[in-house]
Symmetry: C2
Subunit: 340 residues, 2 copies
DNA sequence: CTGAAAGCGCTTACAG
DNA sequence: CTGAAAGCGCTTACAG
């Protein structure tokens, strides 16, 4: 039943020229007469010709496909980066293949095999939370597939990266809390095998030290940073004899969890305890009090990641040098950390 | 510099058999000796062979690619559906090409041309807000590309669809507000050329009528349903001499906007006015009061859309019949609509 | 400026 | 159970 697809050949026959001429005319080859180009384009229109990108990909070795790997597409930060990536690469004629690792190393490996089989022209990835070995990403390098890491990156892997300055974001956030008069600031931290959480922890500690405040181990609680982890962490902190007067969270979800517990225990935010999040998820502004957060300019991160991968694709092996772009974090101060 | 890729041919040569034998062995063809299969698999491993999906696609006519069209990937509802789609089709060996229309008809058209060129095996789409003509989607049908609409669907288009029962969701939500004692319920509605907003409006009206309450035009405000529209709508409603005692919003974003204005004007939700949203975006549960909403089971919608497109792909033209699946909405009652 | 020819790496009837 | 052969629909050096 399938209607026969119109091919280059059909256009060539109809115009009594060769397929090569048609191909060149369609791709607007410089050494082609305008007359032929016009005729070809007109006939292509008439016959309702749709180029077969698969055939072109096989022949040219360019699939015009970029693989994107995220832990989960429905986490707001990732979905925004995805949006940014798609916008940028789409303008350059590339499509995005979206994949999700669910923070599983096995899935990450499977995905990389699939992307390799699909012959994507490049890959943009945020590492899974549990990923501590990188052989599967090495495979991409071996096969010369341009690779860019964003947000959850590996240092010194020889590929371009884009991240927000997590150290600075954390340092500034904690310094802000100190300026508000907080003396005992807790940190709901992520696991420190991830560069970005390690850096946020460092920023937190430095800010305390620079203000001559002690760094207390019991005030630093590591977790997966889900909302539930925020609730648990907050319960733990509020159970202390000497309660903290501020909580710096490495994730907005964790910050919401902390806020919920505060509400449930009738502890007033920010009067009794201030809360600061990270990522500036849109919902932080919907809450009451709004949660202060560190903006990571996720859409810009997506644009940047897209540009980096396109650059790498266009470069020859010899002239390529990995770029490590660090975006500036912006503090978004809301009522959860304001002195009234 | 590009290392020569290992192909089927290389395996064939190494084993002194034909490429066809290798191909059959790799795809686990039933009429192939286990001995050959083992030898081929071992050699493939040894040579670090990566199948070329592009070549397979060209030859077999199956790209193993599913195009997904959403207005924006970073709207929580869509990102969840995308997550569901990816999970489902990935299990069946398909990859997702993610595209965004930005609610622009022109982009929708461009996307469809790209997907056609990429020879995707199927398309799953949510219509753009402004899309009122469907020739570009007709093209997919003409080319026999299986198509599934979700959420923002077209009726009687002859393709499978999956949606939530918007009429019922709205009817139940408004009925709930009436049970709470509300007598004057406003509706922040979407544009009614979209089936789903039309159905929510119908559900709203029916619920009022069934409770012998009047349907008042001035209480129905149409908009694009962004947060800002919720703020504006709420301002308009609160400016009335006879204020509504409840607002049923066709979007959670609009509901947040309404809630913000209430807060700013020191109007207590739910005591003075109740608020009900639609979509059950995660953030509705983070707010205080939590906003009641209609859950659309977005991940399940994604799974269903994925299954529908796979079914269509597997079917022959003769035995295919479009399915229209209507998921049951679930009311999630939070404090914004509870009588205390 | 245009054409002839080869080939990208697979899969799939067909034959035996 | 295995092989020989054709071909999917393009693009790209090469020649003229």
């Amino acid at each position: 039943m399938e209607r026969k697809k119109v091919t280059l050949q059909d256009i060539a026959k109809a115009l009594n020229i060769t397929p090569s001429a048609v191909s060149k005319a369609l791709s607007d080859h410089p050494r082609m007469s305008q007359k032929t180009k016009d005729a070809v384009n007109k006939m292509a229109e008439e016959l309702n010709y749709k180029p077969n990108q698969i055939a072109a990909a096989l022949r040219s070795g360019q699939s015009k496909l970029i693989g994107v790997i995220v832990p989960a597409a429905n986490i707001s930060f990732f979905s925004s980066v995805i949006r940014g990536i798609e916008e940028t690469v789409n303008k350059a004629g590339y499509s995005v293949i979206l994949t999700q690792s669910d923070d599983s190393v096995k899935k990450e490996k499977d995905i990389i095999n699939t992307l390799l089989a699909t012959r994507v022209d490049g890959v943009i990835a945020a590492l899974g939370l549990k990923t501590k070995k990188y052989q599967h990403f090495e495979k991409l390098k071996e096969e010369n597939v341009p690779l860019v890491f964003f947000d959850r990156i590996i240092k010194d892997f020889g590929v371009s990266t884009v991240e927000v300055d997590d150290y600075k974001g954390a340092y500034n956030a904690v310094s802000h809390l100190i300026e508000q008069g907080c003396k005992r600031i807790a940190h709901l931290a992520g696991h420190s095998h991830m560069e970005l959480y390690k850096n946020r922890l460092k920023g937190y500690k430095s800010a305390l030290r620079d203000a001559s405040l002690p760094v207390e181990k019991e005030l630093i609680i590591q977790s997966d940073l889900h909302l539930e982890d925020g609730r648990n962490g907050m319960l733990q902190l509020l159970a202390m004899k000497d309660r903290p007067d501020a909580i710096f969270c490495s994730s907005d979800y964790t910050a919401v969890g902390a806020l919920q517990i505060a509400r449930e225990q009738n502890i007033i935010v920010p009067d009794e305890v201030m809360i600061f999040g990270f990522s500036n998820e849109p919902f932080t502004s919907y809450l009451d009090p709004g949660i202060s957060s560190v903006d990571q300019s996720s859409i810009i991160m997506g644009h940047t990641a897209g540009e980096l991968v396109l650059e790498h694709i266009k470069s020859t092996n010899s002239d390529f040098t990995a770029k490590n772009i660090v975006l500036n974090p912006t503090l978004i101060i809301r009522n959860s950390s304001k002195n009234f």
